[in-house]
């Protein structure tokens, strides 16, 4: 008789909090289940409490990987952008979350991982490594990355300059970048507040852009970052 082969999870001997901080994570049915239920609740809450409006959904690529690039003023941004995606893409969408903010204390790690499926992005040091993680994610067709190239939530709601990392990731690749504008999130749930106010939030999804023709160098990185910054600003209508 042939012997059975067991393949234990590679993170078997790690505690739950250590496992949450890992990336890539092992697929976990309970985690997916909790996230799906929470996503439904969050979508309902956004629709009712924030009267969320989404326009330009038809611009989202139907297949393949892509990157959502948006302005960042509030924790609501990620939730609204996820709500703009089809529900079956929930576990394939990975928002980049600041490792120094979201991946330190257990409650925030749990929220970032369970609710939005975030992955740790090191914005101060090891930026290259984090971009490498992004590249590997995008290499898997169907994965969606949600990036905020401003690098932090804007305190006054104005668009801040995009960091060139987004350019380094996209220049010379065929991966489409979809610019998005989230309006009203700064008023609804500004930086530093505990709870959200019942203000309206709108999401505008722009036309995808591709930078396959550019060479992979520093100059085009800056160019891509500037171009996306312009594209996002244009969606704001101002």
């Amino acid at each position: 008789m042939e012997e059975w082969r067991y393949e234990p999870a590679v993170d078997l001997n790690q505690s739950l909090t250590e496992r949450l901080k890992n990336f890539p994570r092992q697929p976990d049915m309970l985690q997916y289940g909790i996230r799906s239920v929470l996503a439904l609740a969050i979508r309902a809450w956004l629709r009712v409490y924030h009267r969320l409006e989404i326009s330009g959904r038809e611009n989202l690529p139907r297949e393949g990987s892509f990157v959502l690039v948006a302005n960042h003023t509030s924790h609501l941004d990620t939730l609204c952008l996820l709500a703009a995606l089809p529900l079956q893409k929930l576990h394939r969408a990975f928002p980049a979350a600041a490792a120094d903010y979201f991946f330190v204390k257990v409650p925030r790690v749990a929220a970032a991982v369970l609710i939005v499926n975030a992955f740790p992005f090191h914005r101060e040091i090891h930026v290259r490594q984090s971009l490498g993680v992004c590249e590997r994610l995008l290499a898997n067709p169907g994965n969606i990355l949600i990036l905020f190239p401003e690098g932090t939530r804007s305190p006054d709601g104005k668009l801040r300059p995009f960091k060139p990392g987004i350019g380094a990731l996209l220049a010379g690749t065929a991966i489409p970048a979809v610019p998005c504008w989230v309006a009203g999130a700064a008023q609804a749930w500004p930086k530093g507040r505990w709870l959200a106010r019942p203000r309206q939030v709108r999401v505008v999804v722009g036309k995808p852009r591709s930078y396959a023709a550019l060479p992979k160098d520093r100059q085009s990185s800056l160019e891509v970052a500037r171009d996306l910054e312009r594209a996002v600003a244009e969606l704001s209508g101002g």
Binding site: W4, R5, Y6, E7, P8, A9, L12, N13, Q14, S15, L16, E18, Q26, P27, D28, M29, L30
Partner: protein, 315 residues
């Protein structure tokens, strides 16, 4: 069973006093030994600190009453099975694991609802029939997939996982439906954990001869027999937990906890050894995984319930 009732219940208060006294005693002993043994105390200290977290959670469930004991048992089953699935690799099979999770939830529900024919809490008939439904579902999955390759292993792991970790362990929650819930539940919890601690302590102090060398090299005959002696004596000392028990039932209770508890420990060890892992997880610092902690209870609780059911009925 309710919180005010628990606070007035003599059995609950007696167990509370015993457990607090033991924890205080163990803490004091560790503090005294610390300067003499130094670093050797550290792992034991870690184990002890985890007890300080687990004991209030378990006692909290008992204070909250029937639903909390059943829900707590179901949650332990779910996370215990999750560890088993992660250790064996079954967790990659979402169909199988999904059915087992559902079946565990159904076991908890059967323990929670009223028996529609007797108007008593806990639907024992459905509870006992649960393996039939679960196994039928598990065996249906490969058929729906139209895929035989590797399915025997997945089916076998899912069935063992459900029957042992979900249904057999679920008997612990069902004990809360009996007419002496506090006495029965608190005794089995206290006695099996004490049996574990006794085996560990006797083994450390007197251990010479290996008990089951290939399965669990650290266990010794001295530890096993010492724990059995403690567990055989305990029902007589705590007879207030089950006033109806005569000598035969007291002896059986001692055997179920003393021998059954250690079998449960070794049964999980067999699984771990065959897979080639040391612990089933790292959920509880100093103890290992959830299964490493509840392994004795899984084996002892159902035997204990059916012993009670045979002699007295649950209600």
């Amino acid at each position: 069973m309710s919180s005010p009732e628990a606070l007035r219940n003599q059995v609950v208060l007696t167990y509370l006093a015993i457990v607090l006294a033991l924890l205080a005693l163990a803490g004091a002993a560790l503090l005294i030994l610390k300067p003499r043994l130094g670093e050797k105390v550290r792992p034991v200290w870690l184990t002890y600190r985890s007890w300080l977290v687990m004991v209030p959670i378990v006692l909290g469930c008992v204070f909250l009453g029937r639903w909390a004991i059943i829900a707590g048992t179901a949650l332990l089953s779910i996370f215990g099975f999750k560890e088993f699935a992660r250790a064996t690799g079954l967790y990659r099979d979402w169909g199988m694991t999904g059915v087992v999770y559902l079946a565990i939830a159904a076991v908890g529900t059967a323990a929670l609802v009223n028996d529609p024919f007797k108007q008593a809490p806990g639907w024992f008939g459905l509870f006992l029939a649960m393996p039939v439904y679960a196994i039928s579902l598990i065996l249906t999955i490969p058929i729906l997939r139209n895929q035989p390759r590797g399915q025997l292993q997945a089916e076998a792991l899912a069935i063992l996982g459900f029957i042992y970790l979900g249904w057999m362990f679920g008997h612990l929650g069902f004990l809360a439906n009996s007419d002496n819930p506090y006495g029965y539940v608190l005794y089995i919890l206290f006695a099996t954990e004490l049996n574990d601690v006794a085996a560990f302590t006797f083994g450390k102090l007197l251990g010479r001869r290996q008990f089951r060398s290939n399965i669990s090299p650290k266990k010794t005959w001295e530890g096993a027999l010492g724990a059995l002696a403690v567990s055989m004596a305990l029902p007589w000392a705590l007879q207030f937990s089950f006033p109806r028990f005569g000598p035969l039932q007291l002896v059986l209770t001692g055997l179920i906890v003393g021998a059954g508890g250690q079998m449960g420990d070794l049964a999980i060890s067999v699984i771990k050894r065959d897979i080639g892992i040391k612990d089933t997880g790292a959920a509880i610092p100093g103890h290992g995984g959830i299964l490493d902690r509840i392994d004795s209870l899984i084996f002892a609780a159902p035997l204990y319930l059916h012993m009670i059911h045979y002699f007295y009925g649950l209600r």
